[in-house]
Symmetry: C2
């Protein structure tokens, strides 16, 4: 049932980004509308067609033409899509941090940008590849996670979340030990390699070594890069490539969400197979928790 829903929501990309990109291709009075929209989206959102036209200093039909020009069927649909986009926070263009920003503004911008990027990652995720990764992990005899730097943290996190029903898994953060571990892997084992850039040589070597031993390799990267050529399953986690400033931050969080998905999916799958679903899930969750006395007060 829900497939259409998903598809309906997914390709409906951030309208503000679309407007910004379409800007040069618009005729000049339509551009007036576009600029007005980018300037103060909230204002347009709460305005009727007539008001929007007045604000942009054009006629009402021009506003409508603008709407169809950027791919909407009319003003109403445009407003709805605008509302959706605004929920995620202001656009990338607006979220440049300045030293004059108040704390509240920083919160708004960074949260907004994070959410927009997650939305982007979601709609660009290759579910088919993800499905193959889940299948591999579900059958794995042991799992090893690899990553360096920020990606190393993702690997660590994965290792913490994957105490899957007794399947041993580990995560090495040392280049040397990574190679050693990889060289010990064999058929039935699965290596998951995180690399934001996808260019890190050490990680490519790990992939090679693991595969030579007969293990399957899943690569998670933020860009279509060399690493993925050396993997059995390539998962591309695209984030807004807009600014250098945010990229590392965002890619890390998007990768963590992907880990969540993999973990949940594999959990559900293994569960379904073994039958003792709830107990196992609870167990899995208990392992994720930090323990302490309920109320030491």
């Amino acid at each position: 049932m829900a497939y259409e829903d998903i598809m309906a929501r997914a390709p409906g990309q951030n309208i503000l980004e679309i407007v910004r990109q379409a800007l040069p291709n618009l005729r000049k009075s339509e551009r007036k509308v576009a600029n007005r929209v980018l300037e103060d989206p909230d204002r347009i959102l709460n305005a009727a067609l007539a008001e929007a036209a007045a604000l942009s200093e054009v006629s009402e039909p021009t506003v409508i033409r603008f709407c169809v020009a950027i791919g909407c069927t009319g003003f109403q649909e445009f407003k709805l899509r605008l509302a959706r986009s605004l929920a995620l926070g202001t656009t990338a263009t607006h979220s440049v941090l300045t030293k004059e920003d108040t704390t509240a503004e920083l919160v708004e911008k960074i949260f907004g940008y994070t959410m927009t990027s997650l939305d982007w990652a979601r709609s660009h995720l290759d579910t088919e590849a993800l499905g193959r990764a889940i299948a591999l992990l579900s059958e794995a005899r042991s799992i090893e996670f690899f990553g360096l730097g920020a990606s190393g943290i993702v690997a660590l996190d994965a290792q913490q979340k994957f105490p899957l029903f007794g399947v041993p898994c580990g995560a090495q953060s040392d280049t040397h030990q990574q190679l050693m571990t990889a060289s010990m892997m064999q058929a039935g084992d699965v290596a998951v390699i995180f690399s934001n850039t996808g260019h890190t040589i050490a990680m490519i070597e790990v992939a090679e070594v693991a595969r030579n031993g007969g293990a399957k390799v899943i690569g998670v990267s933020g860009a279509s890069a060399p690493l993925l050529d050396h993997c059995d399953v390539a998962i591309l986690v695209e984030t807004l490539d807009n600014t250098d400033i945010y990229t590392p931050t965002i890619s890390r969080i998007a990768a963590l969400v992907v880990v969540d998905i993999l973990c949940s999916a594999v959990g559900l799958r293994r569960d379904a197979e073994h039958g003792h679903r709830f107990e196992n899930m609870k167990q899995l969750l208990r392992n994720q928790r930090i323990y302490g006395p309920k109320k030491p007060v």
Copy 2:
């Protein structure tokens, strides 16, 4: 009727959550509308007033009355707010994972839930406390991050992102070493303690020890818990407390975003003071990157 109460509790919040909460206080034909909305929000969103009324099997004014009952000024505003909420993904109630879910559905649900939770965290964040934390960190001579388990990963991440203009910072994941490090801290130093539950004794001890030495302590927790009483600045990162299933996952990500905010803010601040803004920022970012040859192909 208690619309005000509802609005007071969740100001400008996810409409679907509001509708769900208001359900019992509605009159029965309004409830028909509410149920229809919760059942298939997308359908209502793309419908006109007349169609929405027909779908709910009530008259048009009843639909409008429903809208004002939940705090909107009319049907139009309701639709806009619904669009906003839908952008974040389906409601919490709808995102229970089942083993029948396709990969695409899992992606949709987990991303949606993550985004909704981030939205929640954002709107419940105490910016004033955050501001005080930023002030402390900006003046710090050295910074230490503490955390165990999932929160330990957050601490590690913070330590990786905070190579602040030469201010030394560290992160210990071993309880023993944590106490040792804490006991060495003194006036001018700042300890940042992450604890999702806020009940972990080890972390409370760290806070005590660090403070006794004269250091300032910033606590980041997912709940208003004992730990925060032992801190100079308490940052509460609220996430949707809905299900046990997602909690650890979400709180971790929300905490990472908070780290991003702290890091960026302190960076901007230190920068402004020292004047060589861009160079430093770039340097800071370079340190976050994973290095490798640009294109080994």
